[in-house]
Amino acid sequence: MPWRLSSRLVVNHLATAVCGAMVLVAFVPLVSLLWLVISKGAGGLSLGFFVNRPAPMGEAGGVGPAIVGTFFMVGMACLVAIPLGVGAGVYLAEHGSRPFPRTVRFLTEVLSGVPSIVVGVVAYAVLVVPMKRFSALAGAFALSLVMVPPLARSTEEFVRLVPVTLREASLALGVPAWRTSLRVVLRTALGGIATAALLAVARGAGETAPLLFTALNNQYWSLRPDQPMASLTVQIYNYAISPYESWHEQAWSAALVLLMLVGLLNLGARLAVRDRVGGRR
């Protein structure tokens, strides 16, 4: 018996060590990515970089319009994508086994597999060509197409996690089914859905391809949805493919700004959700 016990202990420690090593290995790409962006981008950060508009080569410019444009277009995309994605997800979770919802789910999966450059082409054909100009509206439309499928699928998953006993408790109190869906099921799944919406926002803020030939870019301040608009990702892309060293540095700094914005958004929403859903065990 003592021999068996000690051999089990050895195996236990060995397995723990292997798992720990794997965790470290998994952290390598994340940490090195963060380190690279911070080390190359931090030098170019200043207050001016956040608030100024891009300047010609050789002058100190900023990404102010790009930050505003990213928020503006992602915000517009959210107005469409969050109601649509969350609504579709709730519908799929509540009526998931009938033929029509099964088709919807299949199409959602297909849509989420469509490369984002193709989404950009579609938005170009649907909005840019008829309007005869690049516009923030077309950019937001393309972003919303990217955001809806993952939002619908993760909303469905979170709604399915709500115990059926809670739904029954509400129905048994004489609460109609639609109010039960809205005020019990959706309310209980809200923390998860908020996280899903946040991931969708982060995904939208990080997309370049759908914006390249829809919103294009803009060197100037603009809040007009029918005009081209700057975004951090396209700005990074333009600077990165330029031949100038100083623009490369600005691309790194803009990448760091993008990472920080997405990170802050993530953190903020997590804290907000945790505070409000404090009772969640």
Partner: protein, 257 residues
């Protein structure tokens, strides 16, 4: 234990020729039962005999399951509830489930008022309603200082009494209880049983139980179900001491089940 045999109270809920199916599975076969007002009616029988299906038909929760279907009449005070909107019916026939299921996102106080709040109905006398319902459920003294806390901070037995308070706050006429103590420890169980005894002063109670002693302790009447049929029903003492049917006797004496 009970004095049900000596008086003949008014019938509150009359179940007539009730049938229920899950898809093609005929789960309840032509059940008729008269449930007297302000009494406790226990539904007993082995697992799968249809007793849970039976009480889930009484507030028409059964028909919500995919492929489920019911037939028959459900008469309260002369009105056939199979013909009214099930949402209206469920405000008159409340239910307490096997496992405590308070709403985890609401406070204790909001859980009590959930029947009104979820329906978007304003509550003028919120505080007195909360106190009354919690007092009826014998929980007021334990939670009066933390009404704003999460229900998940309560013990299982307290959570179940909160669920009873939640059902009572809607002021139903009939209270259905589906094995309300099966997930609780013996002390919490005996508190729920005491509570059932108090509640029958004002409510008509139908309780499903696996536990024969519990049926004996709490109920005035007992119905024995087997394989989807109502085998025998009557005053609890008669069912336990001198059943007419052999199957009932075998079950209550523990020969099978």
């Amino acid at each position: 234990m009970n004095d049900a045999g000596s008086r003949s109270p008014r019938t509150k809920l009359n179940v007539e020729h009730l049938q229920a199916w899950y898809g093609t599975n005929h789960a309840l076969k032509d059940v008729s039962l008269a449930i007297p007002e302000r009494s406790v009616y226990a539904i007993i029988g082995p697992s799968g005999c249809g007793k849970s299906t039976f009480i889930r038909c009484l507030n028409r929760m059964h028909e919500l399951l995919p492929g489920a279907r019911t037939e028959g009449r459900l008469v309260i005070d002369g009105e056939d509830l199979m013909k009214v909107n099930p949402v209206q019916l469920r405000r008159r026939v409340g239910m307490v489930f096997q496992r405590p299921n308070p709403f985890p996102t609401m406070s204790i106080a909001d859980n009590v008022l959930a029947g009104m709040k979820l329906n978007g109905v304003g509550v003028d006398d919120a505080e007195s309603r909360i106190e009354k319902a919690l007092a009826q459920a014998a929980l007021w003294d334990e939670v009066k200082d933390r009404l704003g806390a999460s229900p998940m901070s309560l013990s299982g037995g307290q959570q179940q009494r909160l669920c009873i308070a939640r059902a009572l706050a809607v002021e139903p006429e009939v209270l259905l209880m589906d094995e309300p103590a099966s997930a609780l420890d013996p002390i919490a169980t005996s508190r729920i049983e005491d509570l059932i005894h108090d509640l029958k002063q004002n409510y008509t109670i139908v309780i499903v139980t696996h536990n024969m002693q519990q049926a004996g302790r709490t109920s005035d009447f007992t119905a024995f179900f087997y394989l989807g049929e109502l085998v025998e029903a009557g005053p609890t003492a008669q069912i336990f001491e001198s059943p007419r049917e052999q199957r009932t006797e075998d079950y209550v004496t523990g020969k099978f089940g």
